[in-house]
Symmetry: C2
Subunit: 197 residues, 2 copies
């Protein structure tokens, strides 16, 4: 076995522990605290197992979807979580995250650094069926949390219906059926007063 | 689309959010708090991506490994986390967790409930190459955290070397090379005074 190779892999594994301290604006369902990006990544990976049947591309490679979901937020270790409804912060998001990807993945042995970078680029580009489905789940999970908590995070940030629709509609590119349902849930949230018109 | 089926899947997805509030005895690498079982599950899933090459069975099905790792701790939502070095609590662990599996997986549509139960049983039985490798990572991750934090959790619970070796040696069944290294790291921890002889 190659000591040096293993040491790089272990260094990467220890470094990514920091994703557990990057907090998002999404509340846990019990509203006790914000969720962090590591547990969010776990949650959407399990969602991929449960909801694979709704992918637009039934021949999708689920292993690739899981890999993308598991690593898609690693860049936040350096770049922080960018609130989906914060327009200003989203402007330099790509730049911040590219730098983070350069540093983080280069901790790994070169072949794996390249593999992880390709997966992350694929997720970000949202062109393949796998990336579109992965991105759909990445949007659906915070939406479900907001619906379940009567729009707690939406209300705290003054988010309105047109913003929710505009941000989440690309869900249809990966899972049209899920977006059909999500649209209805959003309407219902407005009716119930959980989301501002 | 089948509304009822989707509703069951969504109910399951919201229920498993509770795994984010089940805390383990393992510290984050920055020692700021204990890690929870959701983020732990994420961490070992990424480890499987990075360390697949060390599996004893090179023809292993990585997708199956990831699926097992992502759901292996769900039963803790009802059964709680059982500290690996707590002998008394481990005695009724299996019984508590079987009941938890019955309740949790039955939230899903029947076909998926069966699929998840088979995956969980496979992980628990540790007979297939995939389950042995998944179990090896489930042991390696807290070991790495203990080594990195100079045995903080070991020392707080009076854990000694023979216990660490006895609990972790099955790592060799899934990834012999990783156990070779882990054994050396354990020796070094004793030398450094991080782990009691």
């Amino acid at each position: 076995m190659d000591w040096q190779r293993l040491e790089r892999q272990v260094a990467f594994i220890l470094e990514i522990d920091r994703l557990k301290t990057v907090y998002r604006r999404t509340y846990l369902t019990d509203t006790s605290r914000f969720e962090n990006s590591a547990e969010h990544s776990w949650h959407i990976a399990v969602m991929a197992m449960v909801m694979a049947e709704y992918a637009n591309n039934p021949a999708m490679d689920l292993l690739r979807v899981l890999k993308m979901l598991l690593i898609h937020d690693l860049v936040e270790i350096d770049a922080g979580d960018t609130f989906a409804y914060d327009k200003a912060a989203r402007e330099d998001k790509a730049e911040r995250e590219q730098g983070a990807a350069d540093r983080l993945f280069s901790l790994l042995p070169e072949d794996q650094a390249a593999e992880f970078r390709i997966l992350w680029d694929e997720f970000e580009s949202r062109k393949t069926g796998e990336a579109k489905f992965a991105a759909a789940l990445d949007r659906l999970q915070p939406l479900l949390h907001n619906l379940y908590t009567h729009g707690k995070s939406w209300q705290e940030h003054g988010v309105r219906k047109f913003q929710v629709v505009s941000l989440n509609r690309h869900m249809a590119e990966g899972a049209a059926g899920l977006w059909t349902f999500a649209s209805k849930w959003i309407e219902k949230a407005v009716e119930q007063g959980d989301l501002a018109e």
